[in-house]
């Protein structure tokens, strides 16, 4: 079994990129791989707690909590979060916040890396 590092830079609600990242994480963990998920830029939106789940907006708090309970490692870019007003006290429990070098550190021993950039 290997290690997959996913970096996702686009937003939760504005695009389905983060949905994709979370679903791919779940599928990889199901197959026994270890997964690190790094969110940067607007992707840090996933780190906020108490997002209200409406059916008109995608909502990832529940699947994310379930996956973290099973070992998914989620870290948000601290500067990207702070610049958006997402502070430590509003961060979803279990989500870590580090500077950008964390992503590169995770990549160091990753067998595969999927960087979701784009627009």
């Amino acid at each position: 079994m290997g290690k997959l590092t996913i970096g996702c830079f686009a937003s939760l609600v504005g695009s389905t990129n983060l949905d994709f990242a979370v679903k791919l994480s779940a599928a990889a963990m199901e197959k026994g791989h270890k997964v690190d998920l790094w969110v940067s830029g607007n992707g840090t939106m996933i780190s906020i707690k108490d997002q209200r789940a409406f059916k008109d907006y995608s909502s990832l708090e529940k699947p994310l909590k379930e996956l973290m309970a099973k070992g998914l490692n989620v870290t948000a870019c601290e500067a990207c979060a702070e610049s958006r007003g997402y502070h430590a006290d509003h961060t979803l429990e279990g989500v870590k916040r580090f500077s950008m070098d964390w992503y590169l550190g995770s990549a160091f021993d990753a067998d595969r890396l999927l960087h979701i950039g784009g627009e």
Binding site: S40, M100, D101, Y103, L104, G105, F108, R112, G117, G118
Partner: protein, 137 residues
């Protein structure tokens, strides 16, 4: 003692999205990654501008003056100061009628000793082959 090589490939023009800038700030973070690694292990970051991404390299960007925002130009210069390998695709510059004199090449005012390398696409392709992982922005 191991090395993991990351290739940051910027394919889109900047400012409308923050992604080209995040490519550079993440590449620069390779300089502080040691805290997460064992002694002797390193992560390197090479940066390539290709396609419309070469437009990020135009010099004299007045982003601070107009948007109170560090320019992509200043991030490229910071990358040079940190001795990162910065490649710009010559064919794409040619396509836009641009040359070395139009783009950021060095950063003596930052004390940088290395320069941006304008290279044929084949060299960028070769770089991508050599990397362990690729990150497209």
């Amino acid at each position: 003692m191991a090395t993991t090589k990351l290739g940051f490939v910027v394919t889109r023009p900047g400012y409308k999205s923050e992604n080209p800038k995040l490519a550079l700030t993440h590449a620069i973070a390779s300089q502080s990654v040691e805290i997460y690694l064992k002694d002797g292990d390193i992560v390197t970051a090479d940066i390539a501008f290709v396609g419309d991404g070469v437009l990020n390299c135009l010099k004299d960007q007045k982003a601070v003056e107009n948007y109170d925002l560090n320019s992509t130009e200043s991030h490229i210069k910071m990358s040079l100061l940190l001795d990162l390998n910065v490649l710009v695709c010559r064919e794409d510059l040619d396509r836009f009628g641009l040359s070395e004199k139009d783009i950021v090449i060095d950063a003596p005012e930052f004390g940088a000793e290395v320069e941006v390398k304008v290279v044929p696409y084949s060299e960028i392709s070769q770089m991508m082959e050599e990397m362990n992982h690729l990150l497209f922005f």
